[in-house]
Symmetry: C2
Subunit: 233 residues, 2 copies
DNA sequence: CGGCCTTTTTGCTAAAAGGCAAAGATGAAA
DNA sequence: TTTCATCTTTGCCTTTTAGCAAAAAGGCCG
């Protein structure tokens, strides 16, 4: 079973499963099912009862909150190796957001009610989860600080640099964001409009900082972008 | 020792210590020291090594991030019964923010390196902490959504309603926020300026929604404020 | 290759909010 | 009571960003 083998090594690397014994990991794996997510497909949706939690093996998801009047906000991205949808572990009955595949993705899914059993079997899991959620909290606070104090151009620069870190792939042109990103997406990540993002990107393009096309962004001068992102003025 | 007695009942109520056995709680308490914080005093500061973590018994703190150029952002408030400063539990060496008493406060402090021992003794503690941090993450995402999609007036309304929930005290005039709140504070909670907050509040005052004075806010019509906060237009 | 849907760009205008400066309040301390 | 530091309000002007509308560009499918 080559598939099984692949999964195993990927799972071994999941931060949440670090320092777990092989037997415990086996027990955990025995409960998992595999979920294939074509691009655009939601792993779960905002408001849904959280009957499962997940770990991403391949691909990439965006986690989106929708406001009552339909505006969307990208809260974070899920990268390979991340666990996600752990609402129940935080004793929340429903999912507070929607997770949508931005490229074809592959995830493991476990029944939510297994969480307690897993923790009981391997308490280190709870500590790992705490670290993971703690990191997300830091990231969220960083976003809050940026949204509160920075103007649009710097926010977009920060968002783009984050994408570089999470999904950057070196090419001859520069660092390509390894999944489709529209102006609208960037707007939803930075609390602005696609029009404004477009204007900002056009400016950067002419300065040689980035090269972009339809659903595509290449960062040509990460350092220059970084300077721009940090410069207070 | 009446002080001891008081602490004990307060500690019993800390969400993080729910479902712990009496003996485990005793062991935890034995390691704690008491910390008195006069108004304006920081329990810890951004960047400091996290040698301790805390639980608030009385009073109120604000958790503030300072930007490189000195702007401040209030990330959240710490209310009685909350644990705070648990950076090390999230495997972060330093504190990512500063916690300042906004009224005279009383906290318990434990050495950071006790965390692991506590968890080992009582794994339910890790799960409680996970829930606590999970709740904070939800709150942070809510703030991100607000900052991304709402204009200033609605953001301030939401912030004020949050304060009502966390620290509202009924009086004849209306619901008083039970600690000193300046326009600057509200600005730092909502990503705007004290000038704009002042203008917004003046408008509300004339509509009879709030009554406010120096470092003081009374919500006279919480429902009206709520309508305003939710109305998309 | 051509049509068509989606995404992106851009010009113009309007609204929202910030910055500056100065004048009023308020309360605490002397 | 007077003084003084701190908060708050307000008028005016500027900047930033959103909104609207329309054109341009890309890429996919038949």
């Amino acid at each position: 079973m080559p598939m099984k083998k692949l999964d195993r090594s990927l799972i071994r690397d999941l931060s949440i499963f670090q320092s777990m014994s092989e037997e415990d990991l086996d027990a955990v794996l025995a409960m998992a099912s595999i979920r294939q997510l074509p691009e655009g497909k939601a792993a779960f949706s905002q408001g849904e009862i959280a009957t499962e939690f997940f770990a991403l093996l391949h691909g990439r998801l965006k986690v989106v909150q929708t406001t009552p009047d339909g505006q969307q906000v990208v809260v974070r991205h899920v990268n390979p190796g991340d666990i996600f949808g752990i609402a129940r572990a935080m004793r929340r009955p429903d999912f507070p957001a929607t997770a949508i595949a931005v490229v074809e993705s592959l995830a493991l899914a476990w029944p939510s009610n297994q969480w307690e059993a897993f923790i009981a079997r391997s308490p280190v899991l709870a500590m790992n989860a705490l670290q993971t959620v703690g990191q997300r909290l830091q990231d969220a606070h960083t976003r809050i600080r940026e949204l509160s104090t920075e103007e649009v151009e710097r926010r977009v620069a920060h968002a783009l640099l984050r994408l570089v870190r999470q999904a950057g792939r070196k090419t001859e042109e520069g660092i390509l964001i390894d999944f489709p990103v529209t102006r609208q997406d960037l707007a939803e990540m930075t609390g602005t409009t696609l029009h404004t993002v477009s204007r900002v990107m056009t400016g950067w393009e002419s300065k040689g900082l980035v090269a972009s096309g339809r659903k595509k962004v290449v960062v040509k001068d990460a350092h220059g972008l970084h300077v721009l992102a940090e410069k207070p003025e």
